[in-house]
């Protein structure tokens, strides 16, 4: 038994070590040898995996923070308070990874601050930059109490937290609005690429669709993160909250599916889904993973009320969401741009490094800060709900 645990730990350590070594090497190539050596980007594919995975998925999957804080602070859905901090932490770390990724993406990273002082309000990307920077500040503010309350100076702690509490609601409100803006602006980035983006994805409402799809995906990632924390760390959350999240994810996915379908019909693009093209294939993959399978699975109680099944269903949602964002940012462009782009290993390795750093930071935050309710007594089963009924595990 002990030997087995030991071997497991070493396996994870080995994986982490590999991720760090390859990622750091890739980072070295990116910054000291340039784009040609570190990417397969070209004039025909100026944006690739870093934007598709790093920025679009990174921001989209961090949508739970504003969703849950709106639910708890503004709508009074106190039920979700136990997972509030975890969702804010996920968003906070998500945005930090995006900021680090931004330095890889732009050709002149030492000019990262230019958008702050050089404004072009007609540019979607400018608005995205400003919103993301401001919202990261908001997240820092929302997350700060978790760190401040651990500081040793009592008087300082209390004053800061008192003022913090006074302006919290205003900041939360601003955060919700800012998030809504840039979650949709990320889709808005592609509005100007009309004629290049395949009709299965191009729509004058791309920004709205991006917004609608981000929230269920962000929730799904939160469910995954909390499940993993409960499984391997010393925390305990009433499982029925996660079950309810599952129900909510399903509902939001149905709403998104409805509008996506409506959009395809009104753009007369539905026919493209039945052509024998690679785009149609990617489209159906997205429909299956992001919509069909999760909506179907989440309608069953035996999926929603079982931690493991709920976890894997959430994982499918997250995977489907990533397929969607990569479809928009890469696959939908290839035909019109006359190119075939496959990311180089360095692009993937550096992205994975940044994500892994985020995951590790999450783990230690959960261990050392009060992110999720700590397990005080050892219960008979970990998956217990408040009513005292063990979930069917």
């Amino acid at each position: 038994m002990i030997a087995r645990i030991k071997s497991e730990i070493t396996l994870w350590r080995v994986i982490v070590a590999i991720i760090f070594v390859t990622g750091l090497y890739a980072t070295y190539i990116r910054f000291f040898e340039g784009f040609r050596a570190s990417t397969n980007l070209s004039d025909q594919m100026p944006w690739g995996l870093w934007v598709g995975l790093g920025t679009l998925c990174g921001i989209g999957l961090s949508a739970a923070g504003f969703g849950i804080s709106a639910a708890v602070y503004l709508l009074g859905m106190e039920r979700y308070r136990p997972i509030l901090r975890a969702s804010i932490l996920i968003s906070f770390l998500g945005y930090l990874t995006v900021m680090v990724g931004y330095l890889y993406e732009i050709g002149l990273p030492w000019r990262f601050w230019h958008p702050i002082v050089m404004w072009n309000h007609r540019s979607m990307l400018f608005d995205v930059c400003i919103c993301i920077m401001t919202y990261t500040t908001v997240l820092t503010f929302e997350f700060a109490p978790a760190v401040i309350e651990k500081l040793p100076w009592k008087a300082f702690r209390e004053t800061v937290l008192r003022y913090h509490h006074k302006i919290l609601i205003g900041v939360v409100l601003a955060g919700v609005l800012l998030s809504s803006m840039h979650q949709s602006y990320l889709g808005g980035l592609f509005l100007i690429a009309r004629g290049k983006i395949h009709p299965l994805w191009y729509s004058q409402y791309m920004h709205a669709l991006f917004y609608l799809s981000a929230i269920p995906a962000g929730l799904a990632l939160t469910v995954m993160a909390i499940y993993l924390s409960m499984r391997s760390l010393n925390v305990r959350v009433d499982f029925s909250i996660l079950s309810d999240c599952g129900r909510m994810i399903q509902m939001l996915l149905i709403v998104y599916a409805f509008f996506k379908f409506l959009d395809l019909v009104s753009n007369q693009a539905l026919g493209y889904a039945f052509q024998r093209t690679s785009e149609a294939g990617y489209f159906w993959l997205e429909v299956l993973l992001f919509l069909a399978i999760p909506i179907f699975l989440l309608s069953y109680d035996f999926v929603r009320s079982n931690p493991e099944r709920l976890y894997w269903t959430s994982a499918i949602v997250v995977a489907g969401f990533m397929v969607d964002r990569l479809n928009v940012s890469i696959n939908s462009l290839q035909t019109a741009m006359g190119t075939h782009y496959v990311p180089k290993w360095t692009e993937l390795a550096s992205s994975v490094l940044v994500i892994a750093a985020g995951v590790i930071a999450f783990r230690y935050a959960v261990i050392y800060l009060d992110i999720l309710p700590k397990m005080t007594v050892k219960p008979a089963t970990r998956w217990i709900s408040n009513a005292g009924v063990p979930a069917q595990a």
């Binding site: 340039g34 004039d43 009074g76 007609r122 803006m181 009309r194």
Partner: protein, 257 residues
Amino acid sequence: MTKQKAMLIDIKRCIGCLSCETACKQLHGFGTDPEPTLSDTAFTVVETRGGTFVRKVCMHCNDPACASACPVGAIGKTAMGPVVYNADKCIGCRYCMLACPYQVPRYQWTKLAPFVKKCDMCADRIEAGKSTACAEACPVEATIFGDRDSLIAEAWSRIRGDSSYVPRIYGLEELGGGSVLFVSDVPFEKLGFKPAPTGNQPMPTLTASALGDSPKVVIMGGTILSALYWVTQRRHEVALAEAEEKATINRSKGKRS
């Protein structure tokens, strides 16, 4: 007011001698080897499409997609017509490349401090009253430089005087028009000129409508959220007050009995 300048490219007259391409390369010190497509060392190329020579070059749009897309405003249209790039502002995000409907901007992928590269219509030369290097080099006046108005008149007179021309000036109105105009004896669709994605509307209108909605959405969203918050708070207070009332009643009952 300065008169807007332009270039007129006559596909029928072009003999494919590559003089424009070479002149451009020499001006920028890029060597003289011809390249198959635009690149960071080829701001214009002469492509062959079914036996016809087609010059490719930045269209110097009147309302350029690239300029509207650039987050730091590194690209702009000057009063004289050229769409110019300010390397001091650029952060290298390459959004201009994604935005340009003609796929013109190129990137220095091999450099450690890479910049965007594209034709600037010899902005410095024409500021000094000269013509563009390519127009100057063309031996058959297939590319000519001048005031946009008079070039449009010239284009129409060429079309009217020779029935083999397609009765259309490409670049006059497409996507809001620009400072580079084409006339041709072969239909433009057959020469790789894709149908304009937004017809005669400039590309930036695509983003403008989405951005234009956002103040409304923000104000509405903000109001709704504040209202919801107020309702939540109110409910909370009411619940508290009710509980207190109950408690007082119970207490007084307790006193009486």
